[in-house]
């Protein structure tokens, strides 16, 4: 229901913008004003692209002017020296900037934050200097002039028609930007900034999400660059400097990064205000700077972000109710039920050793985990239980030893690959996407199951809509299964700790795992809640999901597990049926303490 309202709001917005754009030329009194509007829309396209990088993927790029320059120069050179028409020239510009977008995303393999910002600044400076020095191609400091007017079928476009062309491209960019934002791609970008290991745990490679953001931004900047060159009919290096990159970033931040309208508003303000401030003469830069400082200081979320924040503040408050879990959900049953495997052993760990510097966290561990069993790992704090789990799930790389899953050697494979193979997990300190809604958290879990690609998503193809609705239904069903349906549209960080654990389990189940690794799922739960958790784990086990459980609640482990492995100082000190292990004197000494099991 609320989804439909949101969709409608975007259509209304689009209609309003289109009408405003169509009638604008009739209101304006001279060509100069029209030109400012054309510039504004071109900048808005750059800002929309950058918003994918900053607002969704959470990365800072201060090199957009460099990309804009590549787009502008490519189009101008092709038009002046090779006689290209506008469309092929613009397409070539988009391809080339897209390629540079991929290159710009490459450093995110290693660096983020300030370091990435520095690399993008360097990129911008390099591009600017190439434009100056490579004068045989770029015309050096004087640049390239006499770029022909855009013509279709031999007719050159007049100013108003050119304005409509720019507006059309702007509206397309605006739709692409919105459609990416409201899709699995946008969700994976947002999720990757909030918890990198959590996106990997559901099979998403965060690097791909970031590369996509950078590339789309670069392609949009490429077409903006081509339009810019045709609008001015000349290009030179002066308009592609570091300060220009900074201005594009400010457009996004000032308008409200991550919001739909923010980049447009930011572009409008930062294009129009300097025009307006011209009457202040020498004081204009001062006034401009002061305005920015004041606005950003008062509204760190940007203008649109702040409005949304205050709107949320005045929404009615209520007490949410958490429902009984696990609830009966036939849809979930079909989603997560695994076929019965022929092989007895699900995971076979041989001589696993993990060293951190001098510390041996896991020392020569060999264990078989039976298919469909509940296998508990217990031991004192610091015994290496979580390390063991992190190795199986691919978060850590073992120093030595092999792990066989099914009949494949999976040692050393990254976590997102293992997640795709069917190894899901939860985390000791819960890793959720805190600023996304509870429903979105589960939807991110479904990411790798989507079949519709980027084009179908951008174009809102019927297959995409059908698929999106399908996974919404499944996600809601998973939320009912863990009793969190009432919280569906609340941000995950507002959930109490125990509910965050349930949400993490729901997200892990979204990938239909063969194996589920649970790292202390009962920590922080009351007796009643532990009873619920026990029922859940049993019901998962009935669906042939193999469960590996790291836990301290002895009573729960004894009631649930088929096999218990006890670790102490990274070594297996006992392994076997729960009652055998419970009576093992070494285990009593190391784990239960002098008072023995009775206390637990």
């Amino acid at each position: 229901m609320s989804d439909r309202i949101i969709k409608n709001y975007f259509l209304w917005l689009l209609l309003g913008l289109s009408i405003a754009i169509i009638f604008l030329p009739f209101i304006l009194s001279n060509d100069y004003q029209l030109r400012v509007w054309m510039l504004l829309l071109i900048y808005a396209v750059v800002a929309l692209g950058l918003n994918l990088v900053v607002g969704l993927a959470g990365l800072v790029s201060l090199g957009q002017a460099g990309l804009l320059a590549i787009g502008a120069y490519t189009a101008s050179i092709l038009a002046t020296k090779f006689g290209f028409e506008f469309i092929p020239a613009a397409l070539a510009a988009m391809c080339l900037t897209g390629f540079f977008g991929v290159i710009l995303a490459y450093p995110t393999l290693r660096v983020r934050g300030v370091y990435l910002a520095v690399i993008t600044i360097a990129f911008g400076i390099v591009v600017e200097n190439i434009a100056i020095e490579w004068s045989s191609v770029t015309g050096g400091t004087t640049g390239i002039s006499n770029i022909p007017k855009i013509a279709f079928f031999g007719h050159a476009l007049n100013d108003v028609r050119f304005y409509y062309l720019i507006s059309f491209i702007f509206l397309i960019s605006f739709i692409i930007h919105y459609n990416i934002r409201k899709s699995r791609f946008g969700r994976s970008m947002r999720a990757a900034t909030q918890s990198e290991i959590a996106v990997r745990s559901v099979g998403i490679n965060p690097i791909s999400a970031r590369t996509l953001a950078f590339t789309l931004a670069a392609v949009l900047t490429g077409i903006a660059g081509a339009l810019y060159a045709y609008l001015n009919s000349y290009v030179n290096p002066d308009t592609f400097r570091f300060l220009d990159s900074l201005r594009y970033l400010l457009m996004v931040i000032l308008g409200g990064s991550g919001t739909v309208l923010g980049p447009l508003l930011g572009a409008a303000i930062l294009t129009y205000i300097p025009e307006f401030f011209q009457k202040f003469g020498v004081w204009q830069h001062f006034a401009y700077g002061a305005l920015l400082v004041i606005v950003i200081f008062i509204m760190p979320l940007g203008i649109v972000g702040t409005i949304i924040f205050w709107y949320g503040k005045f929404q009615p408050k209520r007490l949410y109710k958490s429902n009984q879990w696990p609830a009966l959900e036939p849809l979930v049953d079909t989603l997560i039920k695994q076929p019965i495997e022929k092989s007895q052993t699900c995971l076979c760990v041989n001589n696993l050793t993990v060293r951190f510097g001098g510390l041996v966290a896991n020392n020569n561990i060999s264990e078989n985990i039976q298919t469909g069993s509940i296998h508990a790992i217990i031991g004192p704090n610091g015994a290496g239980k979580s390390t063991f789990l992190n190795c199986i799930s691919g978060l850590y790389k073992a120093t030595d030893g092999t792990i066989i899953f099914g009949n494949k050697n999976i040692s050393g494979l990254p976590m997102h690959t293992l997640a795709k193979m069917g190894i899901a997990r939860t985390f000791q300190n819960t890793e959720l996407f805190g600023q996304m809604t509870v429903l979105e958290n589960v939807l991110v879990g479904f990411h790798t199951k989507y079949k519709s690609g980027l084009l179908a998503t951008i174009a809102r193809w019927p297959t995409f809509t059908k698929e999106e609705n399908h996974f919404h239904v499944l996600a809601n069903s998973l939320l009912r299964y863990v009793g969190l349906d009432d919280y569906a549209h609340e941000e995950a960080r507002n959930l109490p700790f125990g509910h965050q654990r349930r949400l993490e389990i729901a997200r892990a189940l979204a990938i239909s795992p063969k194996v589920l690794l649970l790292d202390e799922p009962a920590a922080g739960l009351t007796h009643t809640e532990i009873e619920d958790l026990k029922r859940l784990i049993n019901s998962l086990s009935e669906k042939n999901i193999t469960i590996v459980l790291v836990e301290h609640h002895v009573e729960m482990i004894m009631a649930l597990s088929n096999t218990v492995t006890v670790l102490d100082y990274g070594i297996v000190i006992a392994s076997g049926a729960p009652d055998e292990v419970q009576e093992n004197p070494m285990v009593i000494e190391a784990y239960f303490g002098s008072k023995g099991v009775t206390n637990a």
């Binding site: 007490l319 004192p380 941000e491």
Partner: protein, 241 residues
Amino acid sequence: MHNAPLLEVNDLSVVYGRVEATRDVSLKIYPGEFVAIIGSNGAGKSSTLKAIAGIIRPSKGSILLEGMPIQGLPSYVMVKKGIVLVPEGRYVFADQSVEDNLKLGGYLRDRRDVNNGIAEIYDLFPRLKERKDQLAGSLSGGEQQMLAIARGILAKPKILMIDEVSLGLAPKILQFLFPVLTHLNKAGLSILLVEQLATEALAVTSRAYVMEGGQVTISGNSTDLTHDRRVMEAYLGKKCN
């Protein structure tokens, strides 16, 4: 037996986004008491502690320390006034040594007092002394919990609030930690404990509040609560016959 309460909370409400975490919570702690808040997840226990500690601003209600209203003050002022929280999940300063963590606990106090305090802490937790030069992040979960409690004590609180002592700890560590808390209380420290393990919490405290759905539903002597039918069924995992 007591005259004026040390800490008095009246009609406290806390809101996150659109989620109302607590509604009209009232509680009292008298000097030298050891009090528990028990209840299920989402009952509002942690939110109550965070509001008292000044980490979140209550949307409504008053908090009085020795009769003086303190609600809405920032957390560093609360520490100065003697309200100290040992947070859920411990939050030790992972990249600093154990001893530096302890010194930071006594940040607002005279250095000589803190050094004496640290010596006392090492008597109480010999494990921390053994590891005083180690980075706090390399400690095991149990040792980190000791460190978090010790860091809280070094701020010399009038009241120490502990959120989830037992979180992720092995039984053997708990057998050590709960008696230490009792010892600290006997030595005069007032403690407000939030704990999921209701059995353990009721065994060490003298009084307790039970929270459900953001409100206090039951309160009384811990021993009485242990025999309360509602508490037994919901929180102690016992069936009543």
